[in-house]
């Protein structure tokens, strides 16, 4: 061993690893100490301002004195107070949020945050774009839109959330465009919904229902399902008859269940027939439950051999039959899966709660 093992290599490794251990121990100590000191300093800075922050955050500062005191915080303490305000803004809307953002604007954060959105560090860009969204100012949309195509997924997702907060119709259209599969690193559907969750997005969504890319059409239909914009019923109906993609059809059928009416029953019945893919059938049964009053509509699907389909039918059937005091009966020929689902519906039937809702009145 002493012949073959190079002393120099082992000695070198020894010193390198010793130095690394020492450096890591030091780093851990520094990190802990810094964290403790930062927490103590934040507490010290925020303690005298706690009442003012509370007053502004709860809208109990009619004279604006508390806000003025916060604006006058010494420059060296502003970073700490800024963090506290941002933490509150994440959960506030309306006038109280406006009062807090006014303080931040008075400190000139707008240009600083906008500048940070162009930082070479993804982490910094992600935080900055989230902050920009908290200002709830649509004029900042031009700062946010380029970040929808950022190379970092975290930044892209944060940009979508910021657009949802800024409530920009142009931003909503860009979010939908960024869902397209041909776009660089397209947005996940769930994240995209966060950028469309405001009334101003309705027009952009209505337009996107007929988009050439199926993924955008899916996103638009999903947004309609979530927010129930009735003005989109006609384009959804039209798109559904032409839609070649089964996945997109599932979302369009669900959307029609939310924004459609009794006139859509025939179309939905067609979608629920065995010729359609399973996902579309299940969605159509769910949609029929929304637009149709007659529980007999589901009698065929209750006997379906596909357990998922018959379960969906049983849910819809049980829902209609679960009127107060009426327990859903099991129709003849229902599949076992449907019978199980109906048993659950019976549990959900408000027979137990009846005295509280009707008899109690």
């Amino acid at each position: 061993m002493d012949v073959v093992l190079p002393h120099v290599l082992v000695q070198g490794l020894l010193w390198v690893s010793l130095a690394t251990v020492a450096a890591l121990l030091l780093t851990i100590a520094v990190v802990r100490t810094t964290r403790t000191l930062t927490a103590a300093m934040s507490a010290r800075v925020l303690a005298p301002l706690a009442d003012d922050l509370l007053a502004v955050s709860t809208g109990e500062d009619p004279t604006g004195e508390a806000a003025a005191r916060l604006i006058d915080v010494p420059r060296r303490h502003r970073a700490t107070v800024e963090r506290a305000i941002v933490a509150r803004l994440e959960f506030l809307r309306g006038t109280t949020a406006r009062a807090l953002t006014d303080i931040l604007e008075a400190w000139g954060v707008r240009s600083r945050w906008a500048e940070r959105c162009r930082s070479p560090w993804a982490q910094r860009r992600a935080v900055a774009v989230s902050d920009v969204g908290l200002l709830h100012d649509e004029a900042l949309i031009d700062v946010v839109i380029p970040l929808l195509r950022d190379r970092s997924r975290t930044v892209r997702n944060s940009a979508v959330r910021a657009i949802g907060r800024l409530q920009s119709a142009r931003g909503a259209a860009m979010v939908l465009d960024a869902c397209a599969t041909d776009s660089r690193s397209h947005l996940p559907l769930w994240v995209a919904m966060e950028g469309l969750a405001f009334p101003g997005a309705e027009a952009a969504v209505a337009e996107a229902i007929a988009h050439p890319c199926s993924r955008v059409r899916t996103a638009a239909a999903h947004a309609v399902t979530l927010w129930g914009w009735t003005s989109t019923a006609t384009p959804i109906r039209h798109a559904l008859t032409l839609e070649p993609e089964a996945d997109t059809r599932v979302h369009q059928v669900r959307a029609l269940g939310v924004v459609g009416s009794g006139t859509d029953i025939d179309l939905l019945m067609e979608m629920s027939s065995p010729q359609s893919p399973r996902g579309v059938r299940v969605a159509a049964i769910g949609a029929l439950a929304e637009v149709c009053d007659d529980s007999e509509t589901f009698s065929t699907q209750l006997t379906d051999n596909d357990a998922i389909v018959s379960r969906a039918a049983a849910r819809a059937y049980g829902r209609h039959r679960s009127t107060p005091g009426v327990q859903p009966t099991v129709p003849a020929g229902a599949s076992m899966a449907a019978i199980q689902e109906l048993a659950l519906s019976r549990l959900r039937a408000p027979a137990v709660r009846l005295p509280l809702t009707e008899g109690g009145r």
């Binding site: 121990l25 997702n157 999903h222």
Partner: protein, 502 residues
């Protein structure tokens, strides 16, 4: 006698001559890989600032389009703590989740206590077999208050994997979370694991950090204060878990090459589980095997997919506090590792599987499976060399110190990660205790776990039947539940007994 010694001396000298360099290279490569994984894990955690993670979770909680999760646990003789565990599962933060408990033929009052606590009522039993199972459910119960989304399925005993498959068949949500019936989950656990699925549609499976609960303060099924275990054995295992989960798995996940998601806490897309046929009830390392099968299928079909890992501690499990139980656990893990790797040997160096075939799997073969063999062989050779005067003592000591220091480096990186990201260690002395445990583990613990792992491997090669045995636990908050014969022991952290000093 002198002749024998001389022959031995010559034999050991030539072995040392031939093996010293390969062993040194093995040691260096192993440590370089560890450092690379540390780098990748760091990059992964830097990618998603804490605030973005939190913001995403808050949004998820309020979202109406969030993917639902079916939390599935198999239970066998869990009457002591099952009500508390079920209540804690039902109370997790998530807008759309259900809990499915599969009673795997318990002999005690597990079902009775659940039925009383949640006012269970029987509904018609339907055996939907999206995944074929050995023992279908005999009866199905739900809570009378349907706001409580609890389903209890009763069946004959057929093992944990089969029970979980039964649960998957009954699951109604898009995502399925496998969890042990005696693990404690962080309130945000479901949000943490749901987020990668929501943020990236390619995600098919997500693993999470599992930590040792020994020593921690537990109240009402929640870990309220994190402390290291009071005795050395579980404390050292706590360090192993810290290293393996905070660095190893996060690093592999960054390369989309994570091969192991612990059955004690693993989330999967239900449709993907159905596609691959669920867990394999005949496999000892069923969790490892499942993830490999998912990778295999996705790569074969050339589908874009991700197997992700979340680095926040979200599941707490009790680690063995006696050597006897530890021995059985490590033997079983290594046996599972060997059998699964052998079963999927076709993936090794197969260009179809890309990084998996050329990086992750060779790593598992070389630095997980063969590690105890190399370590034990190296140790025996060094001791013999020392006794026969063939090894320079100073150099040997220096080599041992380097080995231990490199192991300490890995642990320190894991501790640093904790300090920077999760801030779970409230007291400085707990950090010191963790670091000290990483030093203590080198003296005896490491060597004995090498032996346990070799024994498991040998048992598999000889075809000895796997005996599960009963694992007594000290329990949470002084309870004394016992782990059933069919139950998985706490999840295997890769590199469990060998990382760092290679």
């Amino acid at each position: 006698m002198t002749d024998v010694l001389e022959i031995l001396r010559t034999g050991v000298a030539s072995l040392l001559h031939w093996l010293a360099w390969p062993l040194l290279v093995y040691f260096l490569v192993g440590n370089v890989i560890q450092l690379l994984l540390i780098g990748l894990a760091t990059a992964d955690s830097m990618d998603r600032p804490a605030r973005q993670r939190r913001e995403g979770q808050v949004r998820l909680l309020a979202s109406r389009s969030v993917p639902g999760i079916s939390v599935i646990a198999s239970m066998f003789n869990e009457e002591v703590g099952i009500v508390e565990v079920a209540s804690s599962m039902l109370a997790l933060n998530h807008p759309l989740h259900e809990v499915i408990l599969v009673d795997d033929g318990s002999k005690d009052a597990t079902f009775t206590v659940l039925a009383q606590a949640f006012d269970l009522v029987e509904i018609p039993n339907v055996s939907i077999e999206d995944i074929s199972v050995r023992e279908p459910p005999i009866s199905t119960f739900v809570a009378r208050d349907t706001a409580v989304r609890l389903t209890v399925l009763r069946k004959k005993n057929s093992g944990r994997a089969d029970s979980l498959n039964v649960g998957v068949n009954a699951a109604r949500e898009d995502l399925v979370l496998f969890v042990d019936a005696d693990s404690l989950l962080d309130p945000r656990a479901l949000l943490s694991v749901a987020q990668p699925f929501a943020d990236d549609e390619r995600t098919v499976a997500v693993g999470g950090v599992i930590r040792a609960v020994n020593g921690c303060a537990v109240m009402h099924g929640r870990v309220v204060s994190v402390r290291p275990a009071r005795t050395w054995l579980p404390r050292i295992q706590g360090v192993e878990y810290l290293r393996a989960f905070n660095l190893g798995r996060a690093g592999w996940a960054r390369m989309n090459s994570l091969l192991l998601i612990s059955g004690a806490f693993g989330t999967f897309r239900r449709d993907v589980l159905l596609e691959v046929g669920g867990l394999d009830p005949s496999s000892i390392g069923e969790d490892f095997e499942l993830v490999l099968r998912i990778h295999k299928r996705m790569r074969r079909l050339r589908r874009p997919y991700r197997v992700r890992f979340v680095t926040e501690p979200i599941c707490w499990t009790e680690v063995p506090s006696t050597l006897r139980v530890l021995s059985r656990q490590r033997s079983r893990w290594h046996r599972g590792l060997w059998e699964t790797l052998w079963q999927h040997k076709d993936m090794l160096f197969n260009p179809r599987y890309g990084r998996l075939g050329f990086l992750a799997l060779p790593h598992y073969w070389l630095f997980e499976l063969f590690a105890p063999l190399f370590e034990a062989g190296g140790l025996v050779l060094l001791v013999l060399g020392l006794l026969l005067g063939l090894v320079n003592t100073d150099l040997l000591i220096a080599f041992a110190v380097v080995s231990y220091l490199l192991s300490a480096v890995v642990t320190l990186f894991a501790v640093l990660g904790e300090e920077l990201i999760t801030h779970r260690n409230e007291r400085a002395r707990d950090v010191a205790s963790t670091i000290l445990a990483s030093v203590v583990e080198q003296f005896g613990y490491r060597q004995i776990t090498v032996w346990f792992r070799l024994r498991g491997w040998w048992a598999s090669l000889r075809g000895t039947e796997q005996v599960w045995g009963v694992m007594s636990r000290t329990g949470f908050g002084g309870q004394l539940p016992s782990v059933p014969p069919n139950k998985a022991l706490p999840p295997p952290p890769e590199n469990a007994a060998g990382e760092g000093s290679r």
